[in-house]
């Protein structure tokens, strides 16, 4: 990577020097009427252009290979090591992130769905018992009703102990289900680094190509590509800094009410 900055701003100095020398020679040959020499110089000139582009492409390819080869993550156990060694490219890794997050979300929702009815049942039974208890305090209760209540309270206490333990267990499992963040975080950071490196290399290739275009006088016709409002683009980031996106539900509501909703 140490020599990678060299060409970011332009061609190699020796290439430009060669071009200047050959261009001057070309002008001389044309003026002198030596068209054979001129044609061969034009060929040389185009070869210099091609060679320096090929050299740059070769260098970029090597850097890219290097970046991809260095694209490794630290597995924590044999199972993960095997899982990770099978993944050779970034899209596999991102797919792994999707799977891990989905797995964690489903595990969490399993536990939540198991816990919610338990919490409901606790509340309902506690509310019912409280009503009975108040009847007892107001001395409205018959002795056999009191015996029923006595047994019911006993059952409630023992069930409460068990249910509270289950709830606590579910909550700590929910806590553990968040451990995906560690692994997916590593994977995403590696992919981000790779994307940044690729972007840098592509940028230098574009800069290189633009210099070649300047030399050859090539002008590209670029079409404006606008995205239709009907096309989904996914979540937006940095919404606070942008005017074309809403920053939350309040913004959506304001926009819709301005449309007469």
């Amino acid at each position: 990577m140490s020599d990678s900055k060299k060409n970011h701003q332009g061609l190699d100095p020796d290439v430009t020097e060669k071009l200047q020398r050959q261009a001057a020679e070309l002008a001389e040959s044309v003026n002198a009427g030596d068209y054979g020499r001129a044609m061969s110089l034009i060929n040389d000139l185009s070869e210099v252009k091609d060679q320096s582009l090929y050299r740059e492409v070769g260098r970029l390819t090597r850097s890219l290979h290097e970046a991809i080869r260095n694209f490794q993550i630290d597995p924590r156990n044999a199972e993960q090591k095997e899982a990770l060694s099978k993944m050779t490219d970034a899209s596999d890794r991102l797919e792994y992130v999707v799977q891990m997050t989905a797995q964690a979300a489903n595990r969490t929702m399993d536990l939540v769905e198991e816990s919610m009815p338990m919490a409901h049942a606790m509340r309902d039974e506690a509310a019912a018992l409280r009503q009975e208890w108040q009847r007892l305090r107001r001395r409205e209760m018959q002795p056999d009703e009191f015996r029923d209540l006595y047994a019911r309270i006993d059952t409630f206490f023992s069930k409460l102990t068990g249910d509270a333990d289950t709830l606590y267990g579910n909550l700590s499992e929910i806590l553990l289900a968040q451990d995906f963040q560690d692994l997916t975080g590593q994977v995403i950071q590696k992919v981000t680094t790779l994307v940044k490196e690729v972007e840098e290399h592509l940028l230098s290739l574009v800069v290189m190509a633009s210099h070649v275009d300047q030399l050859t006088g090539t002008v590209h016709q670029l079409d404006d590509k606008s995205v239709s409002a009907e096309e989904g683009v996914g979540p937006q980031i940095r919404t606070e800094e942008r005017d074309d996106v809403v920053s939350g539900q309040d913004d959506v509501d304001d926009l819709l009410s301005s449309l007469g909703f």
């Binding site: 989905a102 489903n106 929702m109 989904g232 683009v233 919404t239 809403v246």
Partner: protein, 123 residues
């Protein structure tokens, strides 16, 4: 009241399904994109549609247009629950006839408010 939930991510469908159950709507079905949802809707059993926008296959926006273009479905209430947050998209959805728009991430309270608002307007 039967509700169809359309989202390509099963976790999001499950979250919406749970929130709806807390609101008292336990009769729900799920579909993972517009292509799966449309035939289900055409069977005529649904009273309410909750759809994501960005899905592979048929998007929620195209599903909305297909629903509005169908003689039997054109009055079906549609709530969009989506991460799409560009102003021109929200305007386009409104023009296509969406009944409510919830932007992700959302809260249970927001979903409840929008659903109730839609039902109020229908009744």
């Amino acid at each position: 009241m039967k509700i169809l939930i359309v989202d390509d991510f099963s976790t999001m469908r499950r979250i919406i399904k749970n929130l709806l159950r807390d609101l008292g709507f336990s009769n729900t079905d799920e579909a993972d994109d517009g292509n799966t949802a449309l035939p289900m809707l055409k069977s005529g059993k649904y009273d309410f549609l909750i759809t994501d926008w960005n899905m592979p296959g048929m998007s929620g926006f195209d599903l909305l247009k297909a629903v509005r273009a169908d003689e039997n479905l054109k009055n079906l209430p549609v709530l969009m629950v989506t991460a799409e947050a560009k102003r021109d998209q929200i305007v386009a959805a409104a023009q296509a006839g969406v009944n409510g728009y919830v932007v992700k991430p959302f809260t249970a309270a927001v979903l409840k408010e929008k659903i109730e608002k839609i039902f109020e307007r229908i009744q």
